[in-house]
């Protein structure tokens, strides 16, 4: 039962996660309970099947890509630290954080890191460029069988045309940021975690 799991998390671990991600103590224990309830194999780590067991995620057109974002390069298991690190991207940006010590490194939920998370959903091969193929793949996932190849192709071409400034027919991260500079990323890529 998820309830007893909270006692398996040590105080030192909670403190470290707090420092790294910025979640509060009670949020971390509750998320640990959730992690534990998803972990059917009870081995302290989640596999891709554990995520796919969530029906609402399984019917999300981008479900597989989102699940992928939790797993580091080439690995099949994600532990609680990794789980929290990925979730931290979706913490809302609080005002007092903007005044924090800049030498502590950029917080995981900064605008830049949120955009990077979204960029990585497109950029499957992690070459820091979204190629036409990669864009088409994501488009195909989102529309299913309802739009023809030609139409989808022209949508992709138009999008690259609008965003590409250096003419390499790919969208780099900086071009991606430029396209989305007017979008309220902080709000759209944040989840309201309750205390």
């Amino acid at each position: 039962m998820g309830s007893r799991a909270s006692s398996l998390l040590r105080e030192e671990d909670i403190e470290e996660i707090k420092k790294e991600t910025g979640f509060s103590h009670s949020q971390i224990t509750r998320l640990y309970s959730r992690f534990h309830s998803l972990d059917k194999g009870e081995n302290g780590a989640l596999s891709r099947e554990d995520f796919q067991r969530i029906p609402e995620l399984a019917i999300n057109p981008l479900g597989d890509r989102i699940i992928n974002a939790f797993f580091p390069e080439g690995e099949d298991q994600v532990n609680f630290r990794g789980f929290m690190r990925t979730l931290a991207h979706f913490r809302p940006v609080e005002d007092n954080e903007k005044n924090k010590d800049p030498s502590a490194g950029e917080p995981l939920n900064s605008r830049n890191n949120k955009l990077l998370f979204a960029f990585r959903l497109y950029d499957l091969d992690r070459d820091d460029k979204i190629s036409r193929d990669e864009l088409l793949q994501v488009l195909r996932m989102m529309v299913g069988v309802n739009i023809s190849d030609e139409q989808l192709g022209s949508i992709a071409d138009r999008t690259i045309q609008e965003a590409d400034t250096n003419g390499d027919m790919c969208i780099s991260f900086s071009e991606f940021i430029k396209v989305l500079e007017k979008v309220d990323v902080e709000q759209k890529m944040s989840i309201r975690f309750l205390h």
């Binding site: 057109p61 981008l62 299913g144 979008v183 309220d184 759209k188 989840i191």
Partner: protein, 490 residues
């Protein structure tokens, strides 16, 4: 005899007594005393049992002992909660408190609304239209925006943190501790008094309540099997039905006391009548006992082997229940035919069906299978809501087997629940079975204070159908292509 004794005494006098022999001399009168005490306590025990539990069960009256027990338990729980909170504050521990409102607050916006918002914010500040090459007016100026994925992304991660379905298949988390290890959230040792109380609880539950309940359960089941078999020999008629009803009610009432179930029935004027179908939300096999101790039903189910099979076979001798062989369960037409035949015969008892098809944890009602709603008869909805503070009734069949589950049940404090009989419903003109099922489900959910979900309870074990994903893709495509059509038209 006297000679022998004298010889023994002679022997004893001549040599010193060994310790074993000495003990033997002491044990034998002790033995007698022990036997006498055991005999007396058993007699007292059984008399008390008979007078306070079985006889009231037979006649359907109640002394109110169970309610008194429930009230005192509540007081103990309150004290325990206060003590834990105070202890945690003193030691500066962080208490794990499952938030009743959930981990996150979800925005209930739809795909369309959200995409419009994102695109509007993306282009509204871009009044000069410098980088945008589109010529269309307003927010739908670009067909596809790279920010479209934000919606799916956020929804996906929200469902990873908190989704509506997976949490329905594990026991509900309590807000405060109820002195059972199985629902303990925090470190046990907050105070010695609390630990002592917990220990006392363990002793009471396992050494006193559990044997008592087992005795009652065995009595109840044995009586059911024996009496229904006897009644089976009678010719069909009013006498047989009358006796069968009495016997069934009596045995179920004994079983109710075997679980220390404290049930409150509401709106008994709506109790199901002959020729109708009673539907209820399903949380555990105990639901059957709870409903059947207040009225007579015809049960529907698969024939099992073992003890369950014996009970089923003897029950059907006294009055007609609907048991299916394993092979017949798959044949939906056969099932429907047998159900409608039973329902048409007004002399037969109302059928009891659980349309969810599986046990849910009593926080929500999941999709009702339409089979029972296709049969033309009156539906009597019943809502059952358990109070989780006294014992969790949910059967997590993937984690615990039946025996383990019953053991848990019999070693909890009590099973407290409320049963609401809702007014009968009929299928209306132009309503198909699925809509009717949803209407009944909504009524049950509303009455029981449960969340009304459209998801299928079968998701406990199986994967979700691809059609749901295809629906989302269709919706998104319409947004993309729709703007294209508008542009070509203008």
């Amino acid at each position: 005899m006297v000679l022998n004794n004298n010889i023994e005494l002679l022997y004893l006098k001549d040599r010193p007594l060994g310790t074993l022999e000495a003990m033997g001399l002491f044990v034998s009168p002790f033995n007698n005393l022990l036997c006498m005490l055991l005999g007396i306590s058993f007699t007292v025990w059984f008399t008390l049992l008979l007078v306070f539990i079985i006889v009231p069960a037979v006649f359907g009256v109640s002394f109110g002992i169970r309610r008194l027990y429930m009230k005192s338990l509540l007081k103990v729980f309150e004290w325990a909660t206060l003590r834990i909170e105070r202890g945690a504050k003193e030691k500066n521990h962080h208490l794990y408190k499952p938030n009743a409102n959930g981990i996150i607050a979800k925005e209930p916006t739809s795909l369309e609304e959200e995409l419009k918002e994102i695109r509007r914010s993306g282009s509204s500040r871009d009044l000069n239209g410098s980088s945008s090459t589109s010529t269309g007016p307003g927010p739908s100026s670009s067909e596809f925006a790279m920010s479209d994925i934000f919606y799916f992304c956020r929804r996906g991660v929200e469902s990873i943190v908190d989704d509506e379905v997976t949490k329905r298949f594990t026991a509900e988390e309590l807000e405060s501790w109820n002195l059972l290890t199985r629902s303990n959230y925090n470190v046990q040792h907050i105070s010695t008094r609390l630990t002592v109380l917990w220990g006392l609880g363990v002793v009471i539950r396992y050494c006193f309540l559990l044997p008592l309940r087992l005795t009652l359960a065995i009595t109840g089941v044995t009586l059911l099997v024996v009496f229904t078999t006897i009644i089976g020999f009678l010719p069909n008629g009013r006498m047989k039905n009358f006796l069968s009803e009495k016997v069934h009610l009596m045995c179920y009432r004994i079983c109710v006391r075997a679980l220390t179930a404290i049930i409150t029935y509401h709106h008994s004027e709506n109790k199901p009548k002959n020729g109708g179908i009673c539907v209820a939300n399903h949380t555990s096999p105990i639901d059957v006992i709870i409903l059947a101790s207040d009225g007579c039903y015809a049960m529907v189910g698969q024939i099992h082997g073992g003890l369950m099979g014996v009970i089923q076979r003897s029950m059907v001798k006294a009055c007609p229940h609907i048991w299916f062989e394993r092979s017949e369960v798959k044949d939906r037409h056969l099932v429907a035919k047998r159900l409608s035949d039973h329902v048409e015969d007004k002399s037969k008892l109302p059928i009891l069906i659980f349309p969810e098809g599986t046990c849910i944890n009593n926080t929500s009602v999941m999709m009702f299978k339409k089979g029972s709603f296709e049969i033309a008869s009156t539906i009597y909805p019943v809502a059952i809501k358990y109070d989780p503070r006294f014992g969790d009734a949910f059967w997590n069949s993937s984690k615990f087997g039946m025996v383990n589950y019953l053991l848990h049940m019999m070693s909890s404090w009590a099973i407290v629940c409320s049963v609401w009989y809702l007014p009968p419903m009929n299928r209306q003109e132009g309503e198909d079975a699925v809509q009717f099922a949803n209407r009944v489900k909504a009524a049950i959910a509303r009455q029981g204070g449960l969340v009304d979900l459209l998801w299928d309870g079968g998701l406990k074990r199986s994967k979700v159908k691809e059609t749901f994903k295809e629906e989302q893709q269709k919706l998104y495509s319409r947004i993309l292509v729709g703007t294209h059509e508008d542009r070509s038209r203008s």
